[in-house]
Amino acid sequence: MSVPRYWRETKYRYRLIGERCKGCGSVFFPRNEVCLDCGSREMEECGLGDSGRVVTWTVVRSPPAGYEKYAPYVVALVELDGGARVLSQLVDVEPEQVEAGMRVEAAFRRVKEDGDSGIIEYGYKFRPVIE
């Protein structure tokens, strides 16, 4: 992982920032140059908010290289309260406790390590909201 490649995404990953279409209001994550709903090129950055609910989820048991030590882990499609959807790992929860509709919130977490001497990547994961 090159440092610039990691650095240029940090703002969006650390703070969950997407883009909103100035024309129709649709929000996209990750950011997109052109609105996928109306074709407008007038886009502005916007925060997605940090809480929502689980739409659907899985447990990855055969992980790709770089993620072996976290397996098994839950990956969920989360619908945020503002309407945007985000794919994310779900942490601080056992796989058998996850269910569709579960309330979750964003957390800042370590995502993976680039070998022994490489950079450590951080970003968003989601966790259950403790009521």
Partner: protein, 367 residues
């Protein structure tokens, strides 16, 4: 389709390509399209066009690699058809090759996930099977389909692979055994997933007139859909499949009901089910029941994956779309042996890249 430990990319490709040229009685070709997805991550190899032209002893030909994820084969076929139909090429050889057994499991999983955005999708650690699993669970939640109903797609594929000369897993598997197999990515069981293997397939394309061939290309089309699951209008509808098939049906002048034999991209069972629905063979939410009820068997409404599909024939990524097209051609020629479907006049193949973000559809017809 197998684990060909003694063969590399070149040997695999050459064997399939030379057989296709001999079968066609072609003395040579002027265009070569090589479909491949993972030679870069798994072999560190690119520039397959010139490499394979050299392997075939074809000097001076136009050659290029075509990559569109696991839809590479279907998209390469489309490119070959465009070359011949436009008059740029008098004879195009389109082949696909993939050598997956060179990778460790975690390397193969990472290579497969390269069809997704590395910064926001693969970044989460989700695998290709994991993405399919998100749809699989949502399908069962929304439509009340049982795990067994969805798993029946793999049962059918294995039934059809029995006797298939090139299938990786030519034997039956019961639904109970599938459900008892370990979870790969919940709720997808290991025996609902296409395996890992090596394979190559090739076809020869020439202008129909004067070719002497009894199979013609009635339509090809390629369409794309949302690259991100999160941006889909409907999670359980592949817009690319609907668009590509609508264009192909129109071009060929046929409807879903006219298709006598079908090959779909069942890299896991749910993708086969959703494909059956979005291609127009079952209503949304009823595909699993259609399959469980026998709609896709050799004697059913639309015989599907007649040589075993991705699940049982095998899924050598870039080569898969060309296995499909080749298998449809064998059916139309009456050369399908124990897998033969009676009286097939029109056949269709569907090839998917990523989570349905690229779809290539081919319709062939008996001339």
């Amino acid at each position: 389709m197998s684990e060909h430990w003694s063969m590399g990319l070149k040997e695999l490709f050459a064997e399939a390509a030379l057989r296709a040229l001999d079968d066609a009685g072609a003395e040579g070709f002027d265009s070569l399209y090589v479909a491949n997805m993972c030679s870069a991550p798994l072999q560190g190899q690119l520039h397959l066009g010139a490499m394979m032209a050299n392997a075939l002893g074809a000097r001076g030909v136009h050659a290029a690699r075509v990559e569109a994820g696991a839809a590479s084969g279907g998209v390469a076929f489309h490119e070959g058809v465009k070359a011949v139909a436009s008059g740029f090429s008098d004879c195009a050889l389109v082949g696909g090759v993939e050598k997956m057994s060179d990778g460790l499991p975690e390397q193969v999983a990472a290579a497969l996930a390269m069809s997704e955005d590395q910064e926001y999708t693969a970044y989460t650690g989700v695998t290709r099977v994991g993405l399919n699993a998100l749809l699989h669970r949502h399908y069962m939640d929304r439509f009340g389909a049982s795990a067994e109903d969805v798993a029946m797609f793999a049962v059918r594929s294995h039934e059809h692979a029995v006797g298939s000369p090139h299938a990786q897993y030519p034997f039956k598997v019961s639904v109970d055994r599938i459900i008892a197999s370990p979870m790969e990515a919940d709720p997808i069981h290991m025996l609902e997933c296409a395996g890992v293997g090596d394979g190559a397939a090739a076809v020869v394309l020439v202008p129909a007139e004067g070719s002497g061939s009894n199979v013609e290309v009635a339509a090809t089309s390629v369409a794309t859909g949302s690259y991100y699951l999160a941006n889909r209008r409907d999670l359980l509808t592949f817009d690319a499949v609907r668009e590509a098939s609508a264009r192909a049906y129109k071009m060929a002048g046929v409807a879903a009901g006219d298709i006598d034999v079908l090959e779909v991209h069942d890299d896991t069972t749910i993708i086969g089910v959703l494909s059956i629905e979005d291609l127009g063979f079952a209503e949304k939410g009823k595909g699993a029941a259609f399959v469980a009820g026998g709609g896709t068997t050799r004697d059913g409404e639309v015989p599907t994956n007649t040589f075993g599909g991705l699940k049982a024939r095998g899924h050598p990524l870039g080569a898969t779309g060309l296995y499909q097209v080749g298998e449809v051609a064998l059916q139309l020629r009456g050369d399908a042996g124990p897998c033969q479907v009676g009286g097939a006049g029109v056949g269709m193949a569907e090839s998917l890249g990523g989570l349905g973000s690229t779809c290539a559809v081919t319709i062939l017809r008996r001339a």
